[in-house]
């Protein structure tokens, strides 16, 4: 399985937010609640990454609940791809 690079994932995350009229801050420490990135937005991002990969990235919800910042999202997607 190939790997969707972190920068590309960030770009896709920006697209998900843009489609909702929001902007993704450049700071990895930005808080997801403050920027309005909710759990279904995470699902949309994961599905866009899957499209790029051509493979499914299935995962349980507990891991998701620990995600609070933009950096956490990028880390989580990276871990999913290398798991």
């Amino acid at each position: 399985m190939g790997l969707v690079e972190r920068d590309k994932v960030r770009e896709l995350m920006g697209e998900v937010m843009k489609a909702q009229g929001r902007t993704l801050p450049s700071d990895d420490a930005a808080d997801l609640r403050e920027i309005g990135f909710r759990s279904l937005d995470f699902s949309e991002l994961a599905l866009r990454v899957e499209d790029e990969l051509g493979d499914e990235l299935n995962f349980d919800a507990p891991g998701l609940r620990r995600i609070t910042t933009v950096g956490d999202v990028l880390d989580f997607i990276e871990q999913l791809q290398t798991a």
Binding site: L47, E56, L57, N58, F59, A61, P62, R65
Partner: protein, 248 residues
């Protein structure tokens, strides 16, 4: 009431998933009530072994995967040989879920349905065949969940299986024409290995929404199961919710 319609109390009860959590609490309670009990799970726990030592004549237990029908049938025959014909079945074994439907693999969906719906139906079929062939009456209790009636994120396939078992309960009650009383007990969330995946925030939220102010305890579900197995009631084809009115 004519004698022909009275289903006597169960005397030999098979409990699936009796190794821990609610299943173990049910096994413990039925043994203390003087019944003969058979219990299986994939892994036999020290708690179940200890009960076996305490009640050597009354408890038969073993390691069985409910998804292996042959092993399940062999176990039922062992139970009959050791304890006598089974006239009570508690379908308690199940696996939980904590993943959004879109991120749950098709294989995982199939596995949840297999363990929580298909295999209990196949086990029920086998136990009923033995019961009816011997001219026995009996009782079935399906442990389902409040998830069968209310929506919870992360539990789509699980909820579908529990709703499926509640539906099967009603049709079994009709189909068995009063020879077997079939009911479901649907607990709200309680602390166990299965619910350990829930975060503290979610547990706090459930408690806040529960008029009785606490999560359901296995010990609060056990008397309801015992009543359905032993008491002379005309309850049949019902789903009894035990959740402190959290869902009301």
């Amino acid at each position: 009431m004519s004698d022909s319609t009275v289903v006597p109390p169960a005397s030999v009860v098979l409990v699936s998933g009796g190794s821990r959590g609610l299943g173990l609490a049910i096994v413990t309670d039925l043994l203390a009530s003087g019944l003969k009990v058979a219990a299986f799970a994939r892994t036999v726990t020290p708690e179940l072994t200890a009960l076996g030592e305490k009640y050597p004549e009354h408890l038969h237990y073993g390691s069985v995967d409910i998804n292996d029908p042959k092993a399940g049938q062999d176990f039922v025959k062992e139970v009959e040989a050791k304890l006598g014909p089974i006239d009570g079945l508690v379908n308690n074994a199940a696996v939980g879920q904590d993943s959004l439907h879109v991120h749950t693999s098709a294989d995982q969906v199939a596995a949840i349905i297999q363990t929580n719906l298909t295999s209990p139906l196949v086990l029920t079929r086998f136990v009923l065949r033995r019961m009816l062939a011997k001219g026995l009456k009996g009782r079935i209790v399906n442990v389902t969940s409040i998830c069968a009636q209310r929506g919870y994120p992360g539990l789509v396939a699980y909820s579908a299986t529990k709703g499926g078992m509640d539906s099967a309960t009603r049709s079994l009650a009709r189909e068995l024409g009063g020879r077997v009383l079939a009911n479901s007990v649907a607990p709200g969330f309680f602390a166990s290995e299965m619910s350990a995946v829930l975060g503290q925030t979610q547990l706090d939220q459930i408690v806040r929404r529960t008029p009785t102010g606490h999560l359901t305890e296995p010990d609060e579900v056990v008397p309801v199961v015992r009543m359905l197995l032993l008491d002379n009631t005309n309850i049949n084809g019902q789903v009894l919710v035990v959740d402190g009115a959290a869902s009301i």
